[in-house]
Symmetry: C2
Subunit: 315 residues, 2 copies
């Protein structure tokens, strides 16, 4: 299991390539929640999400030999962008598998950063299984979205939160595969265990939450349109960390996530993706419990398309 010492050590690699992100207080959001709200702006990172901290830390941890052999993964989302970005920064060849019919804009972004994008199968599961085999054949490194080096890299944002606001009382984090929430848990629970960490997922894709509740590794329905929290199969290593540390795990509807997204645009003037709004949606759903508390919501990313944005504004 990842330790806080490993996360602290990751700062050296992360800050060689990336900067800390701001933690801003917003009066408008605080009034909506009836409590003091700070936003952790991971949407300000390059490629628009917290994931890039993990990609950079993973790439920095490779031996020269591993770098030569290249990285393999599957994702057209923030994980894929992150691996493409980090690979370019370290001169590593990235091979990224996506299903046939993957979003052409996102594919173009990864190609623009020099990644080779390969199309395979009907969904991400089949693309991932295939590219994992390909990595073995080619003797390259397959990267799963919850690898320890990724958790250590993304955990650096939680260290920044504690540096900037040591008396925070609750931190709300969106959960996809769980790297962000686990990095946050490890940092917070080994620093000041009075701070609560609350995960948030969509009711339309509750696999990680149900697995956490039941203690079993479930796979299940996934009908959410919120990309960054759309997880079909629970990940073992992140479930283990969550089981040990996580204080609560909320489910909120897609609709309430999009409402939160609208409010965040209105009050912070930042572009936010669905997953990036889930934490605030979660906080809104338990507003009554938060009176008088200092809370942080993690704005994990800003990668929303103009089409999605238009839908959110047309509500």
């Amino acid at each position: 299991m990842v330790t806080i010492e490993q996360i602290k050590a990751a700062r050296k690699s992360v800050y060689k390539h990336l900067n800390p992100t701001p933690l801003y207080h917003y009066t408008g959001l605080s009034e909506l929640l009836g409590t003091d709200v700070w936003v952790k702006h991971e949407n300000h990172q390059p490629v628009g999400s917290f994931k890039v901290r993990g990609g950079v830390n993973l790439a920095a941890s490779l031996t020269d030999e591993e770098k030569k052999r290249g990285l393999y993964t599957a994702s057209s989302g923030n994980h894929g962008q992150s691996i493409a970005y980090a690979s370019r920064a370290f001169g590593i060849k990235a091979t990224i598998a996506v299903p046939e019919g993957a979003n052409p804009e996102k594919v173009a972004l990864m190609k623009g950063m020099g990644a080779e994008v390969l199309f395979h199968g009907d969904d991400f599961d089949s693309a991932r299984e295939w590219v994992e085999e390909l990595a073995k054949e080619k003797n390259g490194k397959f990267v799963s979205p919850t690898d320890d080096e990724l958790i250590c890299g993304v955990g650096t944002y939680a260290l920044e939160i504690l540096d900037d606001l040591p008396d925070v009382e609750q931190i709300f984090v969106p959960v996809g595969a769980g790297s962000g929430v686990c990095g946050t848990c490890v940092v917070v629970k080994n620093g000041n265990s009075n701070i609560k960490v609350i995960g948030v997922q969509s009711t339309e894709a509750p696999t990680m939450q149900r697995s956490w509740k039941s203690g079993e590794l479930l796979s299940g329905e996934m009908n959410t349109t919120v990309e960054g929290v759309a997880t079909r199969v629970a990940f073992e290593n992140t479930q283990k960390i969550m089981k040990k540390y996580l204080d609560d795990f909320l489910l909120v509807s897609d609709e309430s996530i999009y409402e939160a997204l609208y409010l965040l645009i209105q009050h912070t003037h930042n572009l936010v993706e669905g997953a990036g709004a889930a934490a605030f949606a979660g906080a809104l759903s338990v507003k009554d419990r938060l009176a008088g508390q200092k809370i942080v919501v993690v704005m994990s990313g800003g990668n929303i398309s103009t089409g999605q944005l238009k839908k959110v504004l047309d509500v």
Copy 2:
């Protein structure tokens, strides 16, 4: 006239309260321009614009006696937000005049930061004249949007650009009252004079550009809907700096600014206000001159309302 030494000295006050902003390269924008484009993300500052650097530097420069007497200014835009923010940070009372019928959302933001907002007259000119008199009566300090301390504060972003990309060849900057472009000129022309600084304004509010061209202080028509570049009367001190240093001053239509805004949202996933998109619109308008160059466009701010954003996306 402001010197580069004064701007360098301003860093001490600015970085006590604010962080440097990122300068990111975007492949998609580079392809559109046929050259290498970096964006300076001043929209990542608190209150969403570069102006806050100036407000903080000005507040830090006051004597204890001046701080007690308070600051007076007129603006419901980024200048007003910046003075409200800096005043709160330094425990200064801010009095901000706005015309009757000023945008209630923006008024609420300034009040939220503890500023006293006073309504006077039909437009900003009359609100400004009135509050300048009020400052005299009350023995407080009136702040004009082009005060030297403001130029010195905002000039720190240009120092960051040169630190991050020393071989930049052209920097495009939107022009309102001119504090941003002047800070950039003073920094660039006293560092590496081969770098060109290009101002951009709307054809629908060309007063600063025409004054620069003619060498006279003009006032004139102002029909633009792009808030941050809507200047009716030329400012003497910024015109003087621009006359000495500025390489070119482009006019682009409101329509092309909104088109640029759409492209910036699409390719950077950042929320941008009209003025924040003007620099990129200017670069697009002279695309043919830029081939093979390294250019920076300053994204000066992100404060766009959901209503304006909807209009931009509906195009």
